[in-house]
């Protein structure tokens, strides 16, 4: 299984939607940089992400969440990790795909 890294805001770019269309069940998705805006509560994409949680393990990079002042808005079920956790995820999966 692979690790899919999304670094774009879903409001700005279609990257996250393309990722969802092409990720195999059981894979992991990690939001970093402006990608973390997909991980938040109560937004236009929250329902889509909530559904995705049933098929994928979803993570968000806490340093990027905190930088943007979104600490208390992360959706339940999304696991916050730091750079060390990012390294662990990359090591644990067979390959890393960056959705640039």
């Amino acid at each position: 299984m692979q690790l899919h890294v999304v670094n774009k805001s879903p409001f700005e770019k279609s990257t996250f939607e393309s990722c969802l269309l092409h990720v195999k069940k059981g894979s992991s998705i990690l939001f970093i940089e402006d990608g973390i805006f997909a991980a938040l509560n109560k937004g236009k994409f929250s329902e889509k992400v909530k559904n995705a949680l049933e098929n994928y393990k979803i993570y968000a990079l806490e340093p990027d969440v905190n930088a943007r002042g979104m600490k208390n808005k992360v959706m339940d079920g999304i696991k916050l990790i730091d750079y060390s956790g990012f390294v662990d995820l990359a090591a644990e999966h067979d390959a890393v795909q960056s959705w640039l």
Binding site: N7, E33, D82, F86, V87, A91, A95, V96, S98
Partner: protein, 119 residues
Amino acid sequence: MKFGILINEGPYTHQATDSAYQFTKAALEKGHEIFRVFFYHDGVNNATKLTEPPQDDRNIVNLWSALAKEHNLDLVVCVAAALRRGIQEENLAEGFRISGLGQLIESGIQADRMITFGD
């Protein structure tokens, strides 16, 4: 585990190189090996020694140079992409070297995991 890193964007404009730096540092701290950091596209702009950000901002070029020195990192700048963007030996920062795209493929072959940072 051996990681290969690919950086496709220049400093400051995109967070890509910051993220790559933090990832690389964390990997080294956990005892992993970094086979190579390859700079492509605008990523080559990370390698100019003429960078002088404001005092209160990070100096991304120096961060890479220092990390390379401490951990004997191989920082490779793609020659074709560099020539397109005005990076040559005369403005190359310490710890970087200019070489061909073959070094990126080799990194993909030798490293256990290849990770791309970009826009």
